[in-house]
């Protein structure tokens, strides 16, 4: 009997949670038109704190940039806009209900992950390119398999947008991101370490070598260090691959979720 009651309560809770999901849906939908209208409203009301295009918040979170905010529901965003966030500098904006939902749609569009709207393509062929012609797995890990020197791609589809993934494959970066800057270190004992710089200061360096081993060095062991300005990540996949191959690779990468 007790067990039955527990089951009923659990089922009721699940049903309530389901209702909650329904309730959290933007009543205006998430079409490009709604998001575009939201963008104009956003630029009038939000940029001073959250930055242009929500990418560089000076006094408030960069809404488009911070992964930790991605799980916030439509309703949570709507409530923040209409009621403010107590204990923070976020005020209630005093906009109409529809305008508030338009801004919600815009913020959600900024945060749409590749996995939310994955591009079409032959996923199986994309995976084959990943492991073969594209040589991606030499440096990158998916689900614990692959090379260590590049970022883990296991959850790439959930934490990046299609646009950003395409850029990573086709546009050269002026600077490698922190933690991935390639270096060659010549030690005083005549040996050499090549890898990416995980951290450094005046006194010590932490390098992940191309041998996939960590090398913990003291500054006084080092004869000289050569830094590469270019990332190890190739940016010529639009010429290295046929257009259809790149599309398929993108289709595969966009669907990578944990």
């Amino acid at each position: 009997m007790f067990r039955a009651i527990v089951l009923i309560i659990l089922l009721a809770a699940a049903a309530w949670a389901q209702r909650g999901v329904q309730r959290n849906t933007n009543p205006l939908g998430s079409s490009p038109e709604v998001a575009t209208a939201g963008r104009a409203l956003y630029n009038q009301n939000c940029t001073n704190c959250h930055g242009l295009d929500a990418t560089a918040g000076d006094r408030a979170p960069a809404l488009a940039a911070q992964r930790s905010y991605n799980r916030t529901s439509d309703q949570d965003l709507f409530d923040a806009l209409t009621k403010g966030i107590p204990g923070t500098g976020m005020p209630a904006l005093g906009l109409s209900t529809d305008d508030s939902w338009r801004i919600v749609a815009y913020i959600r569009s900024l945060r749409a992950s590749a996995a939310d709207f994955p591009p079409k393509g032959d996923v199986a062929q994309g995976e084959a390119i990943y492991n073969g012609k594209g040589e991606c797995s030499t440096c990158h890990t998916i689900g614990g398999r692959g090379g260590l020197i590049g970022p883990d791609l296991t959850n790439l589809g959930a934490r990046s947008s299609v646009r950003r993934i395409r850029e990573a494959l086709t546009v050269a970066k002026p600077h490698p991101p922190a933690g991935y800057r390639p270096v060659t270190v010549h030690l005083k004992d005549g040996s050499m370490v090549r890898g990416v710089l995980k951290n450094e200061n005046n006194f010590s360096l932490q390098i992940l070598g191309t041998d996939d081993q960590l090398h913990l060095l003291s500054s006084n062991e080092i004869e000289r260090m050569v830094r590469d300005d270019a990332s190890l990540m190739p940016s010529d996949y639009d010429t290295r691959l046929a257009a259809e191959e790149l599309t398929n690779l993108l289709a595969y990468l966009s669907r990578l979720v944990r």
Binding site: N48, G51, D58, H175, N201, F203
Partner: protein, 524 residues
Amino acid sequence: MLRITLLFLVAHVALAQVSNQDLLNPPPENWLTYGGSYDSQRHTKLDEITPGNVKNLQAAWIFPITSTNRLQTVPLVVDGVMYVSAPNEVYALDARSGREIWQYRRANGLNRGPNRGVAVFGNLVYVGTPDAYLVALDARTGTVAWETQIAKTSDGYFSPGAPFVADGKVIAGVGGGDNGLNGWLDAYDAETGKLIWRWYTIPRPGEPGNETWAGDSWKTGGGGTWLSGSYDPELGLIYWGLGNPAPDFDGDIRKGDNLYTESVVALDLKTGKLKWHFQFTPHDVHDWDSVEIPILVDAQFNGRMRKVMAHADRNGFYYVLDRETGEFLHGTPFIDQLNWATGLTPEGRPIRVPGVEPTLTGNFVCPSTSGATNWMSPAYNPVTGLFYLAAKEGCGVSFKGRQEFRPGGFDFKATGYIESPEEPWQMYVRALDLTTGERKWEYMQVNAKSYGAGLISTASGLIFGGDDQGTFAALDARTGAPLWHFETNYRISASPISYAVNGHQYVAVAAGVNIIAFRLPDTN
């Protein structure tokens, strides 16, 4: 006998008082003011820790304050008791061990701004609060002796700076300039908390300087007083650096020089009357507050002794002024990447490069809004004659927009800036010749791209400082060579101090969430 000794020690602490004499001539074992002394040189006479033995320096204790992850408090030490603060909190610690003696928590306090430290005088400890009160606590118990409202909380003001005590007066200021809230400096009776005088940083109609604001723009002109100051007892003048004009990035609605924003002012301590001012960046549009602590030195300048003031400004220039008159004596950039001015006029006014103002689409400016230096204190060593500071090289892109002022403490910056992604950012400790500003050495803080700690100088020839990587290091004051370091692994945003208990010298700094004190081992 042991019991008698203990009683004596307890009695000694209980009777500890900070007198005017102490503040005028601080005993080396105590660190009694934000800048360590009224001249803010941050130069300790303690010399137990030397370039020769600093390699043995080790952490003596750690005291965590977990309510903020970026402590900016400068600890004060009075006869073996350390006072540290965070927003809405003050702690008294045994400076030998970090063991807590008391704590004060302000109930229901707002979360506005950081807290940069306390002041001490008599038996009281003074702290500014996020709801813009000045609170006096009993130094022995932490109980509230009095509190007084500096500004109306609902107006949006807060008081993040360390109060400053001189001649029985507590000087306190306000933050809120970026919200278009005009600043002022107050002097309160140290015993009672009664207001003695108030000086407004933005002149009101009829006052000299009001004409430097177009129309009614003076009403929301900013000019915060959010750090601390210096004092010359012989001249009876206090010196305070003032914050930026508002709206920060849109100068169109506030044409004119916008006095006294981004000036250093000399006020008569007795009356609060303005003796002189010097404006570093007239009509600024980059949020380059001039709050950086002015260092007072009596030094030879062009063949005669002068009472000078040295100030390294967020705008990238180093200035030497005569602090009796405010006369500009010398100025030169202390950073290499500076594109907004070609130099300074004989009067010290910047020679502007046209077209470096923020625009709707963004404009490239060096230094960026974060500036070439900021609240982290510089230091001066009278033996080397060098002025030491944390300097930041790098550029940014500044945008402007239109924004309406909203009362109550809301952002009134009229948009903002990004640090240029194309430019490598780099922090340095630099040593400048006091009178010429010539760079004598620099120490690059590898991998440090944003602001870290301020500095102290020691009589034995050391400079202590830290960086955003959490590295706390000792440098040779003559060469900049690193002689010791400790990895706190938490961004350091405060300025260190030095003190002594039972004849042992300590160096202490707030690093992230921790107060950490260092000393030599007993066997040293």
